[in-house]
């Protein structure tokens, strides 16, 4: 019997590798399905559905929450949680409303300073968690209050001004971007035409995911983040750089949140230290992470999955505009969908034969 198990196991692994991958990513696939469903229905019933304008508008509405969800993902994979992502996003948002204006050089420096500020705050979170040895939930709860406080120092009242050209270029299509900055013959170059209609936020989102997240998860540090979330003791025994992985995870979260805050400032052209809004972003980011199929216990999932989760969340609220759901009912529908989505993952618990497997 043991022989049979030994001989069949590799074959099952080889033959079933696609099935295995599908099963491992069931949560993500479900999220993609939900998104296609909700967004498809939205476009079908939208009077100008499947058009460039609708896509650009939606891409703008999605970008910040998608980045904050990515930010939340990294600490969650680590087995922690970052309750400061919304606050860091807000802090960078307020900082950007001061810095991202003036000459081209000043703008570039301002953007760099904003990204550095978000990253630095994330690094600070990591230091409190790693060197202070305080649980991430409560540490980031406290640092989140500090971030909001700093944001309020910067912007006691909503206001500020961002470079108008930049705002226009970043929140429209690639063609408009090229036209604004006189690239590729003002966006008229023939080779450029097929991609000129793509919204800039969408390109940025893909760039951040492909250039930052995907390389990161392949590094030793990135893999250690997964290992720590899966079994910290085992990761430690294997000699993995645990402290470095934790620092990197929170730093990366700060960077993603910073990008989100910077974009929100560019999109709205103001800085706003809105405490309820920061809280809502944090909570929605957790929801997006879970809907994307990343386990809150850590060790699985990925930032791209959380982007899909964020897309699902936003696609649901897009539909409110199409179907005449009374505004007063919208929070209820949103809540019910959220509750249903997170409870879907519970089906695992009902299938488990040995109840001990549930405890972890």
């Amino acid at each position: 019997m043991a022989d049979a198990a030994l001989s069949t196991a590799p074959r099952a692994a080889r033959g079933g590798s696609l099935a295995l991958r599908l099963r491992q990513n069931a949560g993500l696939l479900g999220a993609i399905g939900l998104f296609v469903l909700f967004y498809g229905v939205y476009n079908l019933y939208h009077p100008r559905g499947f058009s460039q304008q609708v896509l650009i508008q939606n891409a703008n509405e999605v970008f910040t929450i998608a980045l904050v969800a990515m930010a939340q993902t990294v600490p969650v994979i680590l087995g922690g949680l970052d309750l400061s992502v919304g606050a860091v996003m807000t802090l960078v948002n307020c900082l950007a409303s001061h810095l991202v204006t003036g000459s081209a050089g000043e703008i570039a420096l301002g953007i760099l300073a904003c990204l550095a500020a978000g990253t630095a705050f994330g690094f600070l979170n990591g230091c409190v968690v790693v060197f202070g040895r305080i649980q991430p939930i409560i540490a980031t709860l406290a640092t989140g209050a500090i971030a909001i406080g700093l944001a309020l120092f910067l912007r006691p009242k909503p206001g500020g001004k961002l470079d108008a050209d930049l705002s226009w270029a970043m929140t429209n299509s690639l063609g408009d971007f090229a036209e604004t900055y006189g690239l590729f013959d003002g966006g008229q170059a023939p080779w450029f035409q097929p991609i000129a209609g793509i919204p800039v936020p969408l390109v940025l989102l893909v760039l951040v995911a492909v250039c930052v997240w995907m390389p990161f998860r392949r590094t030793l540090t990135g893999r250690t983040v997964y290992a720590v979330g899966s079994a910290e003791g085992a990761a430690f025994m294997s000699g993995l750089p645990i402290a470095r992985a934790k620092l990197a995870a929170f730093t990366l979260a700060g960077f993603f949140a910073g990008v989100g805050g910077l974009f929100l400032a560019i999109q709205t052209s103001t800085g706003n230290a809105d405490i309820p809004q920061a809280g809502a972003y944090t909570l929605n980011s957790i929801a997006a992470v879970v809907i994307g199929g990343t386990s809150l216990l850590g060790g699985t999932g990925g930032a791209v999955a959380s982007v899909v989760g964020a897309l699902v969340l936003r696609a649901i609220s897009f539909n409110f505009r199409i179907f005449d759901i009374p505004p007063l009912m919208q929070p209820l529908v949103e809540g019910l969908v959220l509750l249903a989505a997170v409870s879907l993952g519970a089906l695992r618990a009902l299938r488990t034969r040995n109840r001990l497997e549930l405890f972890r």
Binding site: Q135, I138, A142, G144, I146, F236, A273, L328, P331
Partner: protein
């Protein structure tokens, strides 16, 4: 839990002493400020201190419930709208049934949370978040998004705002709940089960503890206490309003943790939660007396939590 060494400090007593010491520091700083600016030690007057207890009673009730849930390693983010929903339901029902109706909301929400967490095994953080969203949706749909016009009943006014012999009834309720909770934690099988599950749910289960029922009961108690706070708060402010619970979730968690309860469960004494509540209420009050702008308050608030935890809330180094 070593018996026979009454004078030795138990490990979970140190946080309480440090937090209590910090309460005195806050009072001293605030008094120095009022002496310098007004020439009077306002903060040390009984009237001021009793008023702080009155303010703290609502947070204290929420934190007591939150502690039960945190002890088993879970968290309840739905207390914000449980509190508001109970208050709105109570004022809407009115009459002698107002109070039971408000508490019934708590029981229902607690059962829902408990079943979701214990039986469906959804992480409490996200399940209670979803329940919170649903409750908010229900209340917005019910009230039209405005503060309900209905007023608190006399019974609610009595619980929330009246005084008996100079002591606010709310404080007496908080004291009674505190005694019950402390007794529950230290003297009953349920209390022991909470600590055991917080340390290792698998071990607790194998020891014959009906972990799922204990989880459900903890969530029900948490929600009932939140709804009691809501009903009393509506009595205090004469009516219910949107978002009345939002200011209580994170401070309640902070109070529990500052009081020495481990955020992942299994450790902590109830007395610490009381001290934590007093610390947070006093800190807020002194900062507002010093006319600290909101920005500074948030920074100090976060800094204090980090500083307190750096002193006594640190985990073991990795690998030990």
């Amino acid at each position: 839990m070593i018996a026979g060494a009454p004078l030795a400090l138990r490990a979970d007593t140190k946080p309480i002493l440090i937090a209590a010491g910090f309460v005195l520091v806050i009072l001293a700083v605030g008094t120095a400020y009022t002496l310098a600016t007004q020439g009077a030690a306002t903060l040390l007057s009984p009237a001021y201190l009793i008023q702080q207890l009155q303010t703290g009673a609502f947070l204290g009730l929420v934190a007591a419930g939150m502690m039960l849930v945190i002890l088993i390693g879970h968290i309840d983010l739905s207390v914000a709208w449980t509190l508001a929903a109970a208050a709105m339901t109570a004022t809407a029902v009115g009459g002698p049934l107002a109070l039971p109706a408000g508490l019934a909301v708590g029981v229902a929400v607690g059962l829902l949370n408990g079943i979701g967490v214990a039986y469906l095994r959804v992480p409490s953080m996200i399940f209670t978040l979803g329940v919170n969203a649903v409750l908010r949706g229900l209340m917005v749909a019910q009230t039209g998004g405005f503060a309900p016009q209905t007023a608190a009943t006399d019974a609610m006014r009595f619980l929330g705002a009246e005084r008996i012999a100079g002591m606010p009834v709310a404080v007496l309720v908080w004291a009674a709940v505190s005694l019950l909770t402390a007794g529950l934690l230290s003297r009953t099988a349920f209390g022991k089960a909470l600590y055991g599950m917080g340390n290792s749910e698998a071990a607790a289960y194998l020891s014959g503890i009906r972990t799922r029922r204990v989880t459900v009961l903890a969530f029900v108690l948490c929600s009932v206490l939140a709804s009691l706070a809501g009903v009393m708060l509506a009595g205090y402010s004469t009516k219910a309003y949107q978002g009345m619970g939002d200011a209580y979730v994170l401070p309640a968690i902070a109070a529990v943790v500052i009081g020495g309860t481990h955020i992942l469960g299994g450790r902590g004494r109830y007395l610490g939660t009381v001290v934590g509540v007093i610390l947070i209420v006093l800190l807020n009050s002194v900062l507002s007396i010093m006319q600290m702008p909101e920005a500074g308050r948030q920074v100090i608030y976060g800094g204090v939590i980090i500083a307190m935890l750096l002193v006594y809330g640190r985990g073991a180094p990795t690998g030990s």
